[in-house]
Every structure is written in C-alpha cells, then in structure tokens.
Amino acid sequence: MSTLRFFLRVLLGFSVLIVLATATWAHGAEIRIADSKGDWGYPNPWKHYPRGPGYVRMSWVFETLVWKDENGIVPALARSWYYDRDRRAFVFEMVAGAKWHDGKPVTPEDVAFTVEYFKKHPYGWVVLDYVERAEPTGPNQVTFFLKRPYAPFMEDVGGTMPILPKHIWEKVPDPKAYGEPAAFVGCGPFVFKDFDVAKGTYLYVAFPEYYLGRPKVERLIYVRALDPLAALLSGQAHLANIEPEMRPLLESRGMTVIADRAGWVKKLMINHRMFPLNDKRFREALAYAISQEEIIEKAHRGRGRAASYGLLSVDHDDYNPNTPGYPHDPSRSRQILESMGFELGKDGFYYKDGEALRLELLASSITVAGQPAADRDGEVIRDQLESVGIRVDLRNMEQTTTDAKVKNWDFQLAISGHGGIMGDPKILNEMISEEYAAGSVNSARFQDNKELLKLLETQMLEMDPAKRRAMVYRIQEIFAEELPSICLYYPETLAAYDPKKGIRWFYTKGGISKGIPIAQNKLSLIR
C-alpha cells in the first residue's frame, strides 16, 4: 500500500530523469570513436602504449614528414623528397607555414633536433641506428645522412617518426617523466586537451592553423565501449571496430561498413628448439595436417582468408605468389610422420619408442587490432591434429601468461597473431630473426638457416626497390620451406561508421605508419 505508492513515486522520478537527461545529449560538431580498451596512454611518443591504437592517438597531435592514405605515401610536413645515392642522404623539402600548437613555426631545425633527441632517448617505433645525423640544409630543407643504406627509411623514419618542437624538448632531460602540458605540443590537426585514465576517454580540439586546413570537426573524442554495436546504434559513437557478424544489422540501420585488406595474421608459434618440432619434416607434417580453410570455416564462419606461409600479406606489393603452400593433406602428413619413425598405435595415435606423440597447444584471447577476443581456433586445430594421429592438450590461458611462456621457450605450440604484415618488409626481420627481436613474443626467433639470415640483413641495405623485392621474394620462399611458425589466416577486419556525420573513414594502404590496421587515419578529418 504505502510501499506501492513509494514505488510509483520512484517510477515517476525516473521518467523525469529520462526527459531531462536526454536533453543534455545535444552536441556541436564532434566525432566520437569507440574502443573497447579505452586507455592507451597519453598521446606523446614516450607515454603512449607501444601498440597500434596508442600510436594512432598520438598521431592526431604530432606530425610526420610523410604520411599514407588509402593509395600510398602522401606528403605531410615534407612536400617533396628524393634520395641522393651519392651522398647516401634523403633530402626533404618541407612545407612553409606549418605551426606548432603554441604558435611558433615549424622549421628544419626542429627535424634535426628530433633526430638527435630520439637518438638520446630512443622511441621504440623508430629505428635511428642507421641515421648518422639530420641537418637543416636550406630555409625549408632538411637532409638525413645515413651511416649505411637503410631500405625501410621512408616508412620507418619518414612516415613514423613524429617531429618534436625543439624549443620545448631541448630543455627536458628526461622525456619519460615530463608531463607538463608542453609535452603535448605538436603541429598536428588536433590539440590534445584531456585524457581521463579511469574512464578511458580522450578529448582533442581542432587546431585552426593546421597547415593543411582547418579540420572538419571541432572536437574529437574517444570513448570506451565494450559493445561497438550498441555504441554505434545508440549514437554513443560514430566509428568503431566491429565483428563480422554485426555487419548486416549495422548496414540495415544505415551505417557504412568498411573492410581492410589482409593486415593482421594469425599464426601458430612453434618451439623449434625441442624435439620433435626441431625437425623441419615434422613442421611440414603439421602444416599438411592443418587445414587453413577449415579453421576459417569452423571457427569464424567463413570470414577470413587463408594466409600465405611466407609471412608477408597476400595483399602486400612484395608478396611472392610462388611461395610454397601446404594444402590440407592428412595422408601426406602421416607419411612424413612415419618416415620419421613414428608408429601408429591401435588407438589411432602415433607413438615412438613407446611414448605417445603428444603436444601442448596454448591458446588465449588475443588482441586483434586492439580488441581482445576469444575464439575457437584452438579447438579446430586440436581436432585436425588429432584426426591425423597427434595427441593435443589444449590449454586456454590468460594472454600475458601465454606470452610469457612463449617468450621463455616454455611451450610447444601456441596460437598468436600480429599486424604490420602490410607494412615495410622490415617486419620480416622483426618476426623471424632473434637479432632484431629477441624480446618479442611474436617473433619466430629462428637462427638455423644461414641463407635466410643473410638475406634478412642485406634486404635492409638494398635501396633499389626491384633488387630488394627479389630478396624479399626469396625470404618468403625460405620461410615457407622452413616453417619456424605456421601462418594460419587473416581475420576479416571490419569497421563501421555513421555516414550522416559527413566523414569518410578508410583503411590506410599498408596500415598507418608501420602497418597499423586501424581505420583512424587523420586525413579523414582533414580533406
């Protein structure tokens, strides 16, 4: 009775709340981007997390010499450039009139200073080991002198290195600890205003004096939303990465869905330092036992593409179409196993010297382009291997635990993945050789093939694109023959946005900077 009245009053209060609150949702010209993690660090080179989304958040504030759009390299702070083979130098003609957010002009001195500063305080995304120095060589010209030829220079340094304002950083001894507002002064299209760590939200405000013109929106906001579908449909966000199944519903509600080329690969990591995985034949047997198509069919309902075994993406300009492949062939797999001395037991599994052939497979919810997702890949692979006769112990672990085990060689098989396979072929070095990436979890760290290692070294020094391509072709071939890790498939990477906001988002060719497969290219808000 009185309780009933009480509840009625509460209900009335709620209704008032609804009416009032929906009024506060009216906003000016702003774009909101949804992301499931939210927090990727403060947007400056030393503070953003060393992952794609972290770099992207920094890229709104800081500019590079060159940039990329959906078709390839485009000018940014540099309007033209060329390589001087005799002097082993890259010469950049910079645009005139670019300004820092505090009003001061951007000069070649800033570029030269940036190189010096990054040499003193390394920034993981840019390798400056082969750059001797950078010098201002004209009112709007800067020249980079290389110690030795460095093929990935344009993408690595030109397209990834953010230019720092000399007048601010020359006074800063320890950039990691520097948190003043001046640490976020760049010359990019947006000025960094706020990052709320707990909520995972970012606020950027347009920089009216941006050298390519005033950005199309006044404010750019990142919000954290676990469910991109709900965020898009409710208007909470205007751009988000989505799962393939969400496509029909979103398109029926007027959202535009865009798809990336193959920029991210799922791999089966192999501990090739222990028996029987140290034998190349065994790894071949695994490859024949695994059906890439079946994994895509069963675990992802056909959404994805079979991967090239040569590590580089099939959509890459330097993809070798003659890379050896391993079509699904269980009988061939068994042949190989038997030639290695394994015997088929009565239970249908293989034994050697009385011991069962048993492998442990680690799976975890891997972060694909910033979003963690558990999937059934492990289950399918287990079924495939067991049907050939190899016993598999499938273990689902938390991601960092799996990563730590892989890094310490405390595993046999593990499922992992990474992006960057559309970027510069330098990714091959990083994902194959221990020399470049002993500390990486995704690298195969395979030192057994001398020809491979030699090629990896020389491809970095070859400045002639045609010659380099030949080397890259051969690298893919050898990698596919040796199989230190088996590439499985490219997941379908999709993003959806609300076209009514008047912004067209796209996937960058080759990925943003080093190959980040995310559809948040700043050019969408400028042109």
Binding site: K298, R301, R376, E379, D383, N396, M397, E398, T401
Partner: protein
C-alpha cells in the same frame, strides 16, 4: 520420525515442485549425454542455423549442436556447482561452529582467517591458479570453495553465538552436555536454514563464475559448461539467438536453482519442529 517426515514431505507443495524440477535436471544431467545424437565438441554443422528437426535448438557460433551442448553443460555445471557448494559448506559450518563455541583465541584466529580469505580479490587468485595449475574443474572447485566459505562461516558463527545463549542450550550445558554433543544435537540442526541458503548461494556463485571466467579466458575448452554457453551466447546477443541459445541455458540454470531453493524451503519447514506451526 522418519516415516512422518517423508509423509509430510510428500504432501508438501514446495517439496513436490522442487523435487520435480530437481528430478528433471538430474535426469538430464545423468542420462541426457547418452541420449543426445551429437558430440557437443563436433564443429561440423552450419553455424547459427535455426532450430530444425536435426537440431532442435539450432547450432551455435562454432558449428556445434546447441541441444547437445546444453545437456552436457547441465551435467558439468550442476556437478561443479554441487561440488563447490558442498565443499564450501563443510568448511563454513565446521569453522563457524568451532569459532562460535571456542570464542576465545581459537575463535578469533579462525575469524581472522576468514577475514583474510575474504579480503583477497578473487580475480587475482584465479589468474594465479590458472597460470600455475591447469584450470581443470576440480582445481577450480577447490579454489572457489576456498574463497567462498568465509561468508557463510561468519553467518553460522553469528547465529550460533545467539543460540548459545538460548535457554535450552544453556540448560544442556548445565546438565553436562559436551561441546560435541551440543554442537551436533543443537547448533547444527538449528542453524540448518543457513546451510541451505549458503549451499545454494555458493553453488550459484560457482556456476556464474564459470561464465565470468570467459572474460579472463580461463575456461577449459575440453569441457562444456552452462557458463561458457551463456558467455558465448551473450557475445552474439544481436544475432537474434535469444530463444534457442541463450534462453535454454539460462532457464536450465534458473530451474536448477529454483529446485534447490524450493526443496530447501520445504526441508526447513519439515525438519524444524518449531517452524512447523508457522506454516500450518
């Protein structure tokens, strides 16, 4: 006394409903797995297929038959929940009663233990356990039981402390009843309602935790469970699979807990003579 109890139980509506539901779930759990046509791990069907004669509940995202998944899940989840509930209950009652009786140093020590166990965030313990051991059902059950006994132990202790001062207990002490006697004859039966509530609560928590473990990626892919089913079904909530995928799993869970709850209510009424008069 037993004949009277069973007779009363048989006539009690709560019990009949509860037992019927419980019986149904138990039947599914015990016999179901042998009756379903498919292996729940078999991923060879058309994903997200609508319900049909071959697949009465349709197919899930991995191409597995939902009905088979459900039946196996019921068996695994119910046994998991019961295991955790039982273990936690034994621990809780034991510790709670001992702490209430020996309310000096021993009691305080035990309650401190309870506080410490309660205070540690379970998320961390679960990750630690999963990393160091295999996240098998038994290990997980032990861990969850170990983390959840404190709350019921405290409630048992609180109630037992009150009971200790009751006239009949004090009389028993005066008449020379030993601690063991008093505990078994008086305290244990009289705190009975708390057990059932506690058991059901722990079992429920255990099964729900299974689904949350999906967040951490800690479920055991070899074992189908209702929690895992619900986790995946929720991920694809927009696929319009409410009725054939999510709902059955949630319903099974709900019915199981309801069965336990109803039976708990009726057992309370019947076994506690003081309460009988209240229910008429």
């Amino acid at each position: 006394m037993h004949r009277k109890v069973t007779a009363t139980l048989k006539g009690d509506k709560w019990f009949i409903t509860g037992a019927a539901m419980g019986g149904l779930m138990a039947l599914i759990a015990l016999v179901g797995p042998y009756l379903v046509p498919y292996n729940p791990q078999e991923m060879s069907f058309q994903p997200f297929a609508r319900p049909s004669w071959e697949h009465p509940l349709g197919v899930n995202d991995g191409g597995q038959d939902i009905l088979s998944e459900l039946v196996h899940g019921v068996r695994n989840s119910l046994s998991f929940g019961a295991m955790v509930g039982g273990l936690a209950l034994i621990l809780a009652v034991g510790v709670g009663l001992v702490a209430s009786w020996y309310d000096g140093v021993v009691g305080k020590l035990l309650m401190s233990c309870a506080d410490i166990f309660m205070a540690i965030p379970s998320v961390m313990i679960l990750i630690l356990v999963a990393a160091l051991f295999q996240p098998s059902a038994t290990v997980l059950a032990l861990v969850l039981a170990g983390l959840s006994w404190p709350t019921t132990a405290k409630a048992v202790r609180a109630q037992a402390l009150v009971l200790r001062d009751a006239l009949h207990v004090r009389a028993a002490v005066q008449m020379g009843g030993s601690a063991w006697y008093i505990m078994t004859r008086h305290l244990v039966p009289e705190t009975f309602p708390l057990y059932l509530v506690g058991f059901v609560a722990k079992a429920r928590m255990a099964v729900f935790t299974e689904a949350s473990l999906g967040f951490l990626g800690l479920f055991d892919p070899e074992r189908k469970s209702l929690g895992e089913m619900i986790h995946y079904a929720l991920r694809y909530y927009y696929m319009d699979t409410w009725w054939n995928w999510l709902f059955p799993a949630v319903l099974c869970l709900s019915v199981s807990i309801m069965a336990a709850g109803f039976m708990a209510i009726s057992l309370e009424r019947v076994l506690d003579p003081r309460l009988r008069s209240l229910w008429g």
